[in-house]
């Protein structure tokens, strides 16, 4: 990375001019339909579990959102890497949108997991490997977002956040490995669903959950990206306008 390229984040000429487009509207409608199908299968058509009862229905949204929270982190890492490499603001904003949506999905995963754990295990929280790594993932994402939202120049916060975003993936791998060992060296994992075979309508409901929640994820990332893009444009434009106004003042007086 040479000194010349630093300090000039290139803004691609062609960016979105509104928060939505015809394509995202179609995507939104498809997402709503998918959510409707998920409600139909998850809450009405699929049977209650023999051992878990009705609380098994939480799994149809919990499992997909857990997986997508990790997908969001990978998106952030990729976006950050391309930003650091090519100085592309587009990718930086993809990383930011990915991290924000990932944080939302992580929180949703933790909340639905607790709501499921209370009737199933009798407690909201156990120090299981999966729970602990999800909680740490939330904290790592909050760190990224704290840096990205600093009250500093765009250059400063974007670059610093990108370094953290890039390190998200190795961090997640190391965190998962360490909590896995942490909980298995001394006691067997608390959470085990391997005994329960999922099939039939329940499997289909879980599949519907994957489709619907993935669509929600994509829809959110696209819109968050577009809003972030417009925000940055507005900020840059606002500065230009302010400078122009000051110049104009100087001419008049």
């Amino acid at each position: 990375m040479t000194t010349e390229t630093v300090g000039s984040v290139e803004a691609s000429a062609s960016g979105p001019t509104s928060t939505g487009s015809r394509t995202t509207m179609v995507l939104g409608i498809v997402t709503l339909i998918a959510l409707g199908v998920l409600v139909l299968f998850g809450l009405i058509l699929s049977p209650a579990d023999e051992s878990q009862g009705d609380s098994v229905r939480i799994m149809y949204v919990h499992v997909p959102s857990a997986i997508l929270s990790y997908a969001g982190c990978f998106l952030t890492a990729i976006g950050s890497a391309v930003f650091l490499w090519r100085k592309s603001q587009w990718w930086e904003l993809v990383a930011y949108a990915g991290a924000e949506v990932a944080a939302l999905f992580t929180a949703f995963t933790l909340i639905t997991g607790m709501l499921w754990g209370r009737p199933t295990w009798g407690v909201y929280w156990v120090w299981d490997a999966r729970l602990t790594s999800e909680a740490l993932l939330m904290l790592l994402l909050l760190g990224y977002l704290a840096v990205r939202r600093l009250a500093a120049d765009y250059e400063v916060r974007a670059k610093r956040a990108a370094i953290i975003g890039l390190l998200l993936v190795p961090n997640i791998v190391i965190v998962r490995q360490s909590v896995q060992w942490w909980r298995t060296l001394h006691q067997t994992p608390t959470l085990s669903l391997s005994g329960a075979e999922i099939q039939g309508l329940m499997l289909f409901s879980l599949f519907t959950g994957f489709v619907a929640i993935t669509l929600v994820f994509i829809w959110m990332v696209i819109h968050r990206f577009r809003v972030a893009w417009l925000e940055e444009q507005l900020e840059a434009e606002g500065l230009d306008t302010a400078i122009a106004e000051r110049r104009a003042e100087g001419v008049i007086s």
Binding site: M1, G7, G143, D153, V156, I174, V175, S178, V179, L185
Partner: protein, 224 residues
Amino acid sequence: MVMLTDAWLIARKDLKLEIRSRVAINQVMPFALLVLVLFAFALDPDRGLLEKATPGLYWIAVLFSGLLAMQRAFSLEAADGVTDALRLSGLSPAGIYLGKTLSVAVQLLVLEVLLGIGVAVLYGTSITGWLLLLVTIVVATAAISTAGTLFGVVAAGLRVRETLLPLLLLPVLAPVLIGATRAFESALSGTPSEGWPWVGLMSVFAVVYAVAGIFGFGPLMEES
């Protein structure tokens, strides 16, 4: 090669500053001992809880007092535009990173020795498994200082740096805390074979952060 000579220069400069300002000796080390005493107040010292919890308490004390040392590594340069001077000095950014890491590591090692004596004396912990203990200390110190220095520069120069650094660093160091604690536990309980995988994990961590620091420090130093 240039990188290593630069690193040596920076480490010597930082350590000399620490020795002369006596902040580490007069403030950070007493704080570390204070943490040990506070743990005794928080947990019942009579029921052997302290001895049982020694590995965890020890590493928590290292992390918290180490945070102070890492804050210092960059607040040294915060005033009077010294950061710009460092940037203009022509030293390689990777060298600056390694030098700062080395200086933080040396301070951490001194802290760890002090805290080790502290837990042995105050908590009555009998120390066994020396080889694993020493290797754990070296590897965990490398892990903490490589990550701490990298995140230190991420937070450096910002008005919110004091609150930002712990938020960024402590979740990242969670695997090191788990690993170092478990390795200490297995050393003290006389089953060192359980501790070595943790040493491996922490080594991987240290290498990942050293590489990230060597390559990431340049871009991070260029902006103000």
